[in-house]
Amino acid sequence: MTNAIILENVSKRFDEVWAVRGLSLTIRGGSIFGLLGPNGSGKSTTMRMMLGLVKPDSGRVSVHGIDPAQNPVGVKRIIGYVPETPRLYEYLTAAEYLDFIREAYGVAPSVWRSRVAEFLEAFGLSGREGELLAGYSRGMKQKIALMAAFLHRPRVLILDEPLSGLDPKSARLVKEMLHKLALDGTTTIISTHVLEIAEAICDRIAILYEGEKIAEGSPEELKLLSESPSSTLEDVFLKLTGSEDIRELVEALVR
């Protein structure tokens, strides 16, 4: 498999703050790549640079050979994106919103109909597509956002906390789908705070801290960074990001 996404020494600054500094990543096509890090570590900015929403101040970004800064429309055609909080049009029904997505991505109606029906059935939303999104729960909106990202068969998926708010069945469905799509050649970048999810589905993980990459590897390789053989990914993450002293904090809070 060729490399689908390449970031070469990419940096981005907002006023005085370096959101991303000297970041280099090479993401193989057909893989599931995890971006981990505490809040403010640069995960969202990195994703936005891949999507062409943010121009890097230096360095190069390439998504299947397309520079997002130069050809944002071209790169968006091949990407499906799910933000951390679904931003849907509350005054449209689910069906109308998905139809908007269909038309914006230029997918023919005949192709779309069966795909949507299957997804609605799988996510347990069949029969509710005629309701306004304003009345949907958080989890239901997340399902619609995921559908909108998957339905136009993107070559790259960028998912920020994709399983947030999902019931166990839907979460399992999404995980299985990501594996299947990877086998079909779709490249997926996932950002999550739930390290068990990252461990379960990611082929490789990069840990970001204060805009810089501090570790990269498969989950097994990362676990070896810890001194203890029985350490979890969470232990490694907390050690690398300097957040080990949880016990003292807990003692102070419950006193």
């Binding site: 999507l51 929403l53 121009k55 944002p72 429309v73 071209g74 968006k76 055609r77 990407i79 994106y81 933000p83 931003r87 849907l88 049009y89 509350e90 005054y91 449209l92 029904t93 069906a95 109308e96 998905l98 139809d99 908007f100 997505i101 269909r102 038309e103 914006a104 991505y105 230029g106 109606p109 779309w112 109909r113 949507v116 029906a117 609605l120 597509e129 005629g130 309701e131 306004l132 304003a134 009345g135 949907y136």
Partner: protein
């Protein structure tokens, strides 16, 4: 209860859609509101005293004192309903009353107090003005009675609002679930009507006419409870103490009944929350878009269809329809004779509608603007789609207005053609100017209240549109006013079209540039 009232009042002030300097100032704290209200009260009473001291208008004073309770009750109802209508759907804090240890009675009283508090500055002006006139006429004691009755009326108005909100919330949830497609536009039209009434009522001439009308009906409508407090005032003015006390007592009973009913309904139906709203039961069937067949790109077609679908579903649209409608219709209510300017008012109202719609087109995306950023859409497509949507909505209305007014104001085909061309040129120009400022000054905040465009942007939109339209209309105006030989009507029409087209193209290019920058920011 007082503390809850304070919180609700602060929330109301800060969530106001018009975040003027005054509203922001009042939102800082309630003591400031009190001090401002006292200042306004004193100021307005001094102003009216000074204006009427030499010749106190006795008859007008009596009419005003009689109308005060009913007027303030009406004001309280309309103002609070308008606030509730414009409450953002993204304010979950309203559900806090469901799980805090607050009894329904406490909530009703606190909510009513907060409503009164929110309108305190306006009340202070009205009551202060009345006091000034009363002092000038040596009738301060009558003012005291009217003020006390008005306080009761205010309370009644607040309780009426609580009743309306509880019932409509309950009814809305049932209707939305079963007939969402019809219910949503009806709700928007209802909101439009309420705002329209509010705007019309605040036209000075209409207010005076209304006061006279109230005076006429108060005596005849003695059996209608909201009128009792005004009727009490009328009796006091007629020196009928027994009658005054009777209607005061009935008015107080009306207020107390309002409290009991609103508390009972609140107990039963709790706070408002968004229900599931079913638009259609039929299964999803995507179809090719008609707009694609008209030459729009798929992206443009997607945006236009989205905008048209949600047009009447959004509560916020009510103000954009009501205010221009009021601008168009108020002159007909207050004019004493027909004139050319009168028949141009509907066109002005429509252009204002188009301007408001286009100036808020980008900001109306709110947080969902992200969808436009991540979809494969070019900035130009977004601008064209947004402008096209407004033109599509406004064009039929322009055709109707022209069809209705042209036979009255013009006498030749050339003149009619000139006005048709000028009307549509003005429409396109207005839309493009609004779209430019919408992309330049968008406001995507949705909580506590959606604003759509920054205040500076709205101000510049109005000024620029007025100036541009004046420039566009100049050739036709010169022709109409001077009828010079060197400017036949056909040439004037062409010049108007050329100026309008030039301004439209410049605005379109500017909008494309600014939205490209927005994409990159």
């Amino acid at each position: 209860m007082i503390k809850l009232a304070q919180i609700l009042a602060l929330s109301s002030l800060r969530a106001s859609s018009s975040q003027s300097f005054i509203k922001r100032l009042l939102g800082r704290g309630l003591r400031l509101n009190l001090r401002l209200s006292i200042t306004l009260f004193v100021g307005s009473s001094l102003a009216t005293y000074g204006a009427t001291a030499s010749s106190p208008p006795q008859q007008s004073l009596y009419q005003l004192l009689v109308a005060l309770p009913l007027l303030l009750m009406f004001l309280s109802v309309v103002y609070t309903i308008m606030f509730e209508m414009n409450r953002s759907v993204n304010t979950p804090s309203v559900d806090a009353v469901n799980w805090l240890p607050i009894t329904p009675a406490e909530y009703v009283v606190a909510s009513s107090l907060s409503s009164a508090y929110s309108v305190l500055p306006l009340l202070s002006i009205i009551l202060g003005a009345a006091l000034g006139i009363a002092l000038a006429a040596g009738a301060a004691h009558l003012w005291v009675i009217a003020a006390l009755l008005s306080m009761l009326a205010l309370a009644a108005g607040s309780f009426i609002v609580e009743i309306i909100l509880s019932i409509t919330s309950r009814a809305a949830r049932r209707i939305y679930k079963q007939k969402g497609r019809l219910a949503l536009p009806l709700a928007t039209l209802f909101n439009t009507a309420v705002i329209f009434i509010f705007v019309v009522m605040f036209n000075f001439q209409v207010l005076i006419n209304s006061l006279k009308w109230v005076m006429d009906i108060v005596g005849l409508a003695w059996f209608i409870p909201p009128v009792w407090l005004s009727l009490a005032m009328e009796k006091y003015l007629e020196a009928d103490l027994a009658g005054g006390l009777l209607f005061t007592l009935l008015g107080a009973l009306f207020v107390f009944s309002g409290f009991l009913i609103s508390t009972a309904l609140r107990t039963r139906y709790w706070a408002v929350y968004e229900a599931e709203i079913r638009i259609t039961d039929s299964s999803y069937t995507p179809k090719p878009s008609i707009f694609a067949k008209l030459g729009f790109t798929p992206g443009e077609s997607a945006i236009i269809r989205k905008e048209l679908k949600s047009f009447l579903r959004r509560r916020e649209m009510a103000a954009f329809i009501a205010v221009p409608a009021a601008v168009a219709i108020i002159p007909f209510l207050t004019a004493s004779r027909a004139s050319l300017a009168l028949y141009l008012q509907p066109t002005v109202g429509l252009l204002l509608f188009a301007l408001l719609l286009s100036a808020t087109s980008i900001g109306r995306e709110g947080e969902a603007f992200l969808n436009l950023l991540i979809a494969p859409l070019r900035p130009g497509e977004i601008i064209r789609a947004k402008a096209a949507t407004t033109i599509i909505v406004a064009s039929p209305a322009m055709a109707l207005i022209l069809a209705a007014t042209l036979p009255v104001i013009v006498s030749s085909w050339n003149s009619a053609l000139a006005l048709v061309v000028a009307g549509y040129t003005a429409l396109v120009e207005t839309v493009m100017i609004g779209t430019y400022f919408s992309s330049r000054f968008p406001d995507f905040t949705t909580a506590p209240r959606a604003r759509f465009i920054r205040p500076l942007g709205m101000f510049l939109t109005m000024i620029t549109a007025a100036t541009a339209l004046a420039a566009t209309a100049t050739p036709l105006y010169i022709y109409a006013a001077l009828k010079p030989e060197w400017l036949p009507i056909q040439a004037a029409t062409l010049l108007t079209t050329a100026i309008g087209a030039g301004i439209s193209i410049a605005a379109y290019r500017g909008a494309k540039k600014t939205i490209t920058r927005l994409f990159q920011s």
